[in-house]
Symmetry: C2
Subunit: 332 residues, 2 copies
């Protein structure tokens, strides 16, 4: 078995071979081929750029429905997408633990290449560091993305108004539970929802009335809703019965004592839409494979300023606060 050595991070021969074979070949594009330390980009015209970064430390690096490489591409693609930015370029930086199987890195970079092709983003620059055994846990990946925001698109918390509807494109909690099941070796058929959202979002943007979008990853739906309610003088009302959730996720949460509202998702967008276009946006979302279970889950309210109020199916009410403490570390 071929393993990663410290010399693969030395800046010398071993590193050059690794980069050539595992990275440049696969992420195949002319900008990366230059092998400069930086990439030169020429996005068109005067459009605004969107710039986002995430480091991925998910444990384990392979989980039902995905792996750290795919997650690193889709996660960054989604951060751009929810800003209304068409994802164009991604940088990719690896921190590798000495001794990692070469084959594992090979599988991960293949998975990243495939994810890049699917989403039509180019991986144009990168970096590789190797640290000694026990100084990192197998593999961490940073991806940083650049996207372009078309004229007229303006996604911002400040645009949200009382009466706006809150939508989500599908069921919640699957990513977190899939990672946990892989980590703890539970028997379940739950798969990560890890998926790229730009295609879906680019279909609904032209309809208009889209005020704000965010992907509920770490901290889940509850955290995003709290971020929204914190920023303005309004409340948020959420209807439990309208949140899409699979029976299996419900059952698992009940057994393990998790609240699905706090669980990470990797293929979901929470979208705030003006009342007059909410139905059209919902209809368009339902046409897309990633929006079949889309739903209006609540609205921006005049009452309960600064609070997220959750109406349970049986008619009860509870305040959904931000997560305190850590429910599931290293979920992404």
């Amino acid at each position: 078995m071929k393993r990663i050595l410290l010399s693969h991070g030395s800046g010398g021969k071993a590193m050059h071979l690794l980069i050539k074979n595992l990275i440049v070949k696969k992420f195949n594009n002319k900008i990366l081929d230059e092998l400069d330390d930086s990439a030169v980009l020429s996005p068109t015209g005067d459009n605004r750029l969107c710039f986002t970064t995430d480091s991925y430390v998910v444990n384990p690096i392979f989980f039902p429905g995905g792996d750290i490489g795919e997650l690193a591409i889709y996660g960054t693609v989604n951060d751009l997408s929810v800003m209304g930015a068409k994802p164009l370029y991604i940088s990719c930086s690896f921190i590798i633990e000495e001794g990692l199987d070469y084959d594992i890195l090979d599988r991960i970079t293949t998975s990243m290449a495939t994810a890049g092709e699917k989403t039509n983003v180019k991986i144009v620059t990168g970096d590789t560091k190797v640290v000694g055994r026990g100084m990192a846990d197998k593999l961490f990946i940073n991806t940083t993305g650049i996207g372009i925001i078309a004229e007229g698109v303006d996604i911002s918390l400040s645009k949200i108004e009382i009466g706006d509807k809150i939508l989500i494109n599908g069921s919640v909690g699957e990513h977190a539970l899939s990672v946990m099941s892989a980590r703890e070796d539970f028997q379940t058929s739950i798969k990560s929802d890890c998926a790229p959202l730009w295609d879906l979002i680019s279909n609904i943007l032209p309809i208009g009335g889209i005020k704000f979008m965010r992907d509920p990853t770490r901290g889940g739906l509850a955290t995003v809703l709290n971020e929204i309610s914190e920023n303005k003088n309004y409340g948020i009302g959420i209807h439990e019965g309208d949140i899409p959730i699979t029976d299996e996720v419900s059952a698992f949460c009940e057994i393990l004592g998790f609240d699905p509202l706090y669980l990470a998702n990797e293929g979901k967008a929470l979208i705030v839409v003006s009342t007059d276009t909410a139905d059209s946006v919902l209809r368009e979302m339902k046409k897309h494979p990633l929006g079949k279970k889309a739903s209006i889950i609540g609205e921006i309210t005049q009452e309960n300023q600064g609070k997220v109020v959750f109406e349970t199916i049986v008619g009860g009410m509870r305040i959904i606060d931000m997560l305190t403490g850590e429910q599931l570390p290293r979920i992404c």
Copy 2:
């Protein structure tokens, strides 16, 4: 002593407070204040953008002359600078080991903020992950930068021609040895050369004739020279006597058996310049605090195609190959 907990990476309350207090306050700019997952940028006009990424894993995180935070800013600023790109925006992503002193993170983010101010770059977006104790070594930082390349500037390996001169702005080897002395607790006054190069480079670019630049970090001068010679059908001749090096670095290398040509630098640029402007560029460099010891160290030659030939002071010749294996891991 306040320590970093897993909950500081949860996406919840603890993480929000940490980001507010240690990051947003210090990296003080309007784009970051938005606290979106992405930053919206509006660089002017049709200029080409330069995009670069690096993860910093230097051990120890404080060393004579700098720390991992300063290094992460200057390193990425320099990667942009050697492409002829004015550094504008930086993203910053932390991977933190659970249990890290809160004060250490505080010092590092202060150091990054200062480095950002000095170089006039804005840290506009970021990410924070916390992994369990023993799953990372204290702190890793990824910085990804965007710069803008002015019209007419075209830095590229493909422009190098036989006869071009090779310049460096100062003495080599200090960064690597300073990190090593901190790691091994050696007594030495050697300090890292960690410094931002844009100011120096922006002074020489208008002179013209600058074909290629690269900062000789990991793998040192030898690796950059080999990257140049690999890409073209020419040779490279380097004169030992013209390479600036301090007595202390020389002495240390002799004792420890290191070759200074392979040692990492963090405030140096290797510059390939056409014969007719080389002297003017050298004169301009010498006016700058970071270029006082600038020197023409060699030239692009017709003979010895694909090889880097090193003429020693005593008149001997040796081929300088790329580094094989690892001399000093985790130097940056």
